[in-house]
């Protein structure tokens, strides 16, 4: 059987696909990206001098900051429209507002070099974290990979 199935195995794969391992959601992915935005913002602001090396670093930091801000928005969107359901909204009426403000902050962090906005973004994701784990009836502490 196994020998036969090896011979006739197709060379191509078709994915009956589902994003990620299905049903696996965690606001941690948004938090990690938000921390990267915060870190890149701080590093870009702290740069000194006006030589090519500085501009190279500045450009790299800004690029990564913008990319990670987009990751934050995408990860929050996945939680918002894939994980959360109408019954959650009934229990947490400020759910939409929480996501709206968090994604707005991600946009602000993408546009500006604004440490305060980045800290607010991390705080907003903590808010999402709290609601998310409450819907699962689990007490999961919020933590930062890179505490200030």
């Amino acid at each position: 059987m196994n020998f036969l199935s090896r011979i006739i195995r197709p060379a191509h794969v078709a994915h009956a696909h589902c994003d990620g391992p299905c049903g696996v959601y965690d606001p941690a992915s948004a938090r990690i990206a938000a921390e990267a935005v915060l870190s890149m913002t701080k590093k870009a602001i702290a740069l000194q001098g006006n030589d090519a090396a500085m501009w190279n670093s500045f450009t790299r930091f800004t690029t990564i900051k913008e990319q990670q801000a987009d990751v934050v928005k995408k990860e929050l969107d996945i939680l918002w429209h894939d994980y959360f359901k109408a019954e959650h909204l009934a229990k947490y009426p400020d759910l939409h507002d929480t996501f709206w403000k968090a994604t707005k902050l991600a946009s602000k962090c993408k546009q500006e070099l604004n440490v305060d906005a980045c800290n607010d973004l991390v705080k907003a994701i903590e808010g999402v974290h709290t609601i998310f784990w409450a819907t699962k009836g689990r007490d999961v502490p919020f933590y930062l990979a890179n505490p200030a």
């Binding site: 195995r9 197709p10 078709a14 009956a16 696909h17 589902c18 049903g23």
Partner: protein, 141 residues
């Protein structure tokens, strides 16, 4: 000379006929290989119609001059990752809005509900037959 060529005539024609059949068979095999491709299914979004590990035969000419029908199981390039081939069922076909693809197992499927409709050019072919595992060899519907 004339007698000699006559005696060689019959085997020559016979050989020609054999060669013609061989060429035809080779062409048919080549054509079938181009038209029909074998795929292994991974993932659970098409349960129960298709299970992960199934081997299927796909007709890549199924939609030459015809649009897919609602209900067909098709292969399509993933709009978010074109080198990934998706297998989904056609939910609806709209000339202007495109083709919406849905997994039979909606709970475990990323499909047009997420990435929107796809263009007809994204459709690779129609899944026609399952040939493995042997216990469930059948025409795929």
């Amino acid at each position: 000379m004339i007698a000699g060529s006559r005696s060689r005539g019959a085997p020559f024609l016979y050989g020609l006929a054999v060669a013609a059949v061989a060429v035809e068979a080779a062409f048919a095999a080549w054509w079938a290989r181009r038209r029909y491709m074998r795929f292994e299914i991974t993932g659970s979004s098409m349960l129960p119609a298709l299970e992960p590990g199934d081997f299927v035969i796909v007709d890549t000419h199924a939609y030459r001059g015809v649009l897919p029908h609602r209900g067909d199981i098709v292969l399509a390039a993933d709009p978010r990752k074109p080198d990934r081939t998706l297998v989904k069922r056609v939910g609806s076909v709209d000339l202007h809005q495109g083709i919406s693809l849905l997994g039979d197992n909606a709970e475990e499927s990323t499909d047009s509900r997420r990435f929107g409709p796809v263009s007809p050019e994204a459709i690779i072919g129609r899944v026609r037959w399952r040939y493995w595992p042997l216990r469930s060899v059948l025409r795929v519907r």
